[in-house]
Amino acid sequence: MAKTYDELPIMPISDTSSEGVKTGSWRTYMPVIDLKKCVKCNNCWKFCPDVAIYIGEEGFPHVNYDYCKGCGICANECPTKAINMTRGDSE
């Protein structure tokens, strides 16, 4: 979003977190984690290029669908095939 002339500094210095950009809208496929198969190895959290998986208090991973681009790396790296890439809604 454009800033007004007065708001602009003399040189562009980006200081706003990119979290305002919901890249989840890029998705075609979305990962769904079957917690029954999950062994809490943390691979999915570890290998997500978009930092879109977080580990909850119980130690299970959760997908942040606001940002998940649906690349499927998590599903590919899951040792127990607990993650299914489904053709669901992007939301």
Binding site: K3, P12, I13, S14, D15, T16, S17, S18, E19, G20, V21, K22, T23, W26, V39, K40, C41, N42, K46, F47, P49, D50, V51, A52, I55, G59, N64, D66, Y67, K69, G70, C71, G72, I73, A75, N76, E77, M85
Partner: protein
């Protein structure tokens, strides 16, 4: 619950512009976990100049100096000099550039920075072509690769020359520390970047970063590709400290065809080429093993 094998703290957040399955995204995420908060990072023209987002957004929670294409080595020399002049010697100064900005147009300034014994870390994320401008070949593009400037056509016009070995060039500069890394092995990558940060002098880390867009590969396979490239001996994981070579992984060899055929950029290659290529890979692997033996005796 399994303990985390890499630090939990994130310095990169979501909402960035990297493609689905981007290896370079992983490379930065891991590098920052190793470097921590006291870091200034310099990024030239490359995918990572666009990934943080459009002004005023940035996905990196750190000072980031954007620069022209060929200047990363010079830029980090300047930042280090400024911070030293101000007495801020405990801040990591890091250059983070693609293979084009490192092995081609940026080679001079990298060479200068290393030769001057600059206390800075240079990280190259290697997706094996000029990806930001649309998949044109670089000197880091391996032989046999389709790119937009080495299309296959009717005359087998694909990339003909061998991949430039940046780590060996760094060794020839008598660099205190240099290493290869792969996004499939984040623990190893993070250990190496931490090591680089501890060196009072220049260090160079070359990270293998798959690009599904440029390689015409399945985005979900990016980490698997980064693993297979190591296990097939194409991209060995090793480090060189003060001229002493250490190979970090001596894996059971996996067939290179398995690695190559997962990528559309190689699909035109026939078995004859692959066999020849495999022999070259094994020859280089043998050389590396000998280098390790030879330099550890000294």
């Amino acid at each position: 619950m399994t303990k985390l094998t890499i630090p939990a703290e994130e310095y990169m957040n979501s909402g960035h512009m990297a493609c689905q399955g981007c290896g370079a995204g992983l490379a930065m995420r891991y590098a920052l976990k190793a470097l921590g908060e006291k870091t200034v990072i310099s990024i030239p023209a490359c995918c990572w100049a666009v990934i943080p987002g459009v002004y005023p957004n940035s996905c990196l929670n750190l000072p980031l100096v954007y620069t022209a294409f060929e200047v990363t080595g010079a830029s980090i020399s300047g930042i280090r000099a400024a911070l030293d002049a101000q007495g801020k010697k405990d801040v990591n100064v890091v250059g983070f550039a693609g293979d084009g900005g490192t092995a081609d147009i940026g080679l001079q300034s990298l060479s200068g920075m290393v030769e001057r014994n600059t206390n800075a870390i240079y990280i190259c994320y290697d997706n094996e072509a000029y990806m930001n401008t649309g998949i044109q070949r670089s000197s880091s593009t391996p032989e046999g690769t389709w790119t937009t400037t080495t299309p296959v056509g009717t005359t087998k016009y694909w990339e003909l020359t061998k991949k430039k070995n940046m780590v060996e060039i760094m060794v020839a500069h008598n660099i205190p520390y240099t290493a290869t890394a792969s996004v499939a092995y984040p623990e190893d990558l993070i250990r190496k970047v931490k090591k680089a940060a501890s060196i009072d002098g220049p260090s160079y880390i070359h990270i293998f970063a798959p690009c599904p867009t440029g390689w015409k590969s399945d985005p979900s396979k990016s980490v698997e590709l980064a693993r297979k490239v190591v296990t097939s001996h194409i991209f060995p994981l090793y480090e060189v400290e003060n001229g002493v070579y250490k190979i970090n992984m001596k894996p059971k060899k996996t067939p290179i065809k398995e690695y190559l055929m997962m990528q559309g950029r190689f699909r035109h290659l026939d078995d004859e080429f692959i066999e020849k290529y495999d022999k070259e890979i094994e020859k280089d692997w043998e050389k590396l093993i000998q280098k390790e033996a030879f330099t550890s005796e000294q």
